[in-house]
Subunit: 355 residues, 2 copies
């Protein structure tokens, strides 16, 4: 078994090596749809306390694995830890999501920023990884992650989620040099952050480019993809004799799959608008693919979910190289038994593709 | 000149015939960013009065043409006229957008629906077209339009905009036959509506599939594309000796351009995430392309807008077959002088591509 894991299905699929069935984990699998998560979250008080207390982060990371037969754990954290560590004053406003007290708007704001110390301001994430890796005790691999530079930049510039991105897009058009300076600094920060995550126990890495898909192709290449490629180059991919695979996921990036795959990443995450069969044809000999059931369909009936799972598996087709996942994070309203139906369908239907 | 028009640049580009410069119009060019629109809108009282009073609809349709040098007019109307005519009780709630008093949720709700009479309940749209066509007096072509069946269905099922589409998507998964019945009825309604629009004076037709891009590829093909193809087949494309071109626009449909082009439409609309050069390579010998500047960039500086316009023109490259437009409608906050900058840039920079 890879890395001394009891279940190395995920690592094997990422390396496109034979597996007995398609491995499975779910974006935001530790989250509000689980009553046990809501209980721990209430106990923690606020969201950042939950993220920054290693024992609580470990507890919620493991909750979905207690309930379901999943092939990976993903460290419970937030994508905005880096800008928070840069001193932008992150808070979570009820019903509004993340808000930065000090958004970054000008070249001089950008000049004041520095790469945060992954073992200093961000040390709580490393502690959470160490505690969780020990608690997992080799059951399944532990995934570490970060937001992509562009995605972090959108929140830092806009100051909050839920906007039309006019300020962030305006910076690209009207002050491209300042934008490059910010994105370069963020790429450096992400490299140091992810390398530290590997040292602290992360066995797989994932980069969430949640907002790459709102850009024109030109802007995506210049301001998002270029910096993700720099991160893939900058990460130490070998750790304790094992390769650490990295997954890039640009939501809405279906038109750029070949270019994303060409960064040297190990796998590309797909949202549900992309057809796995077509994606595999484009990039399947270079990288593994992760995805891509529409999370909204988890609100349909259990029979409907099974049909849709079978469509996803059938679209990828026979052979290894597919990690089953959603095309975006689970939403809070999903009944936990619908997740059971999804997992049962993947378990029952996927072995036929691995004979 | 085609159809006796003083300016037939748009029709020539849609037919991929030589033009002196790239024709230009803007989605939602008659809208809230214009002070004269807001004045007429205030005078009308409510939004549906504005749509349903032919003289007022004509007035706002012509406003952007008085201010700017545009190559087409688009009849001022709403995409939800058909469901409104079906008796679903459309209203516009301040800050919330369209709301239906009687959303369609069950097979029995769907069975009660009938194709509306385009010269009955929808006669006000035909009157607006007749009045506007006369007022235009051949200056530029007049575009008629409809929402696509799937896009109309999302609003009818959800009952409002701004949702996560769980109910509409749930119907596709859990009651596909009912969904097909609804979409078939809507396709029939759109055919009869658009044919009547041509009889009333529309010289170009456009189908807005605003919500096609939220679907998986499988669901898009089954529940959106199939019905758009049926509409293209069903429309009488010749009128008074002239061909009536039809443009299909699926926002977020960049992954499906070849399939959209294969419906037999004359042009495909593109949002800003798609690269015109790549799209042209895929479909350029079959159809014209319309788009695709990110409307959010109209909030940048006038210099920035010019740079981005030149990128769009350069991406399409030399030759006819491109209708310049945005990748989605103009937003209310755009300063009208920024639209002037965009139009000036297209006028000045595009002739070089048509020598």
């Amino acid at each position: 078994m890879k890395s001394g894991l009891q279940n190395d299905r995920m690592l094997r699929a990422l390396a496109r090596q034979p597996v007995d069935r398609t491995p499975l984990w779910l974006m935001r699998q530790a989250g509000r749809y689980l009553p046990e998560y809501r209980e721990t979250r209430a106990r923690a008080g606020d969201f950042m306390t939950l993220c920054s207390t290693p024992e609580l982060a470990c507890e919620v990371t493991l909750q979905p694995l207690e309930r379901y037969d999943l092939d990976a754990a993903i460290i419970f954290s937030d994508i905005l830890t880096i800008p928070d560590a840069m001193g932008l004053g992150l808070s979570f406003v009820q019903g509004e999501g993340p808000v930065f007290a000090k958004p970054v708007r000008s070249a001089s704001d950008i000049k004041r920023l520095a790469v945060p110390d992954p073992n200093g301001e961000l040390g709580y994430v490393m502690n959470a990884l160490r505690v969780t890796r020990a608690a997992l005790d080799g059951r399944v691999p532990l995934i570490g992650f970060s937001g992509s530079p562009w995605t972090l930049a959108t929140y830092m510039i806009e100051g909050r989620g839920g906007t039309d991105f006019r300020t962030a897009k305006g910076l690209l058009v009207d002050a491209p040099e300042a934008a490059h300076r910010l994105l370069g600094l963020l790429a450096q920060s992400v490299v140091s952050y992810l390398n530290a995550q590997v040292a602290a126990g992360a066995q797989v890495l994932m980069l969430f480019d949640t907002w790459g898909g709102i850009l024109s192709t030109y802007h995506f290449r210049e301001f998002s993809l270029r910096y993700m490629a720099a991160i893939v180059d900058g990460i130490s991919r070998e750790h304790e004799g094992h390769r650490v695979p990295i997954i890039l996921f640009t939501k809405g990036g279906g038109g750029w799959l070949s270019e994303i795959a060409a960064t040297g990443c190990d796998a590309v995450g797909l949202d549900w608008t992309v057809e796995l069969a077509a994606a595999r044809q484009q990039v399947g000999d270079k990288v593994a693919l992760q995805g891509n059931l529409d999370p909204t369909l988890l609100l349909s009936s259990c029979e409907g979910i099974r049909t849709e799972v079978s469509r996803v598996l059938d679209s990828y087709g026979p052979g290894s190289g597919h990690v089953f996942n959603l095309g975006h994070g689970i939403t809070p309203q999903v009944p936990p038994e619908h997740v059971s139906a999804l997992i049962a369908a993947v378990r029952e239907l996927s072995p036929a593709y691995h004979r």
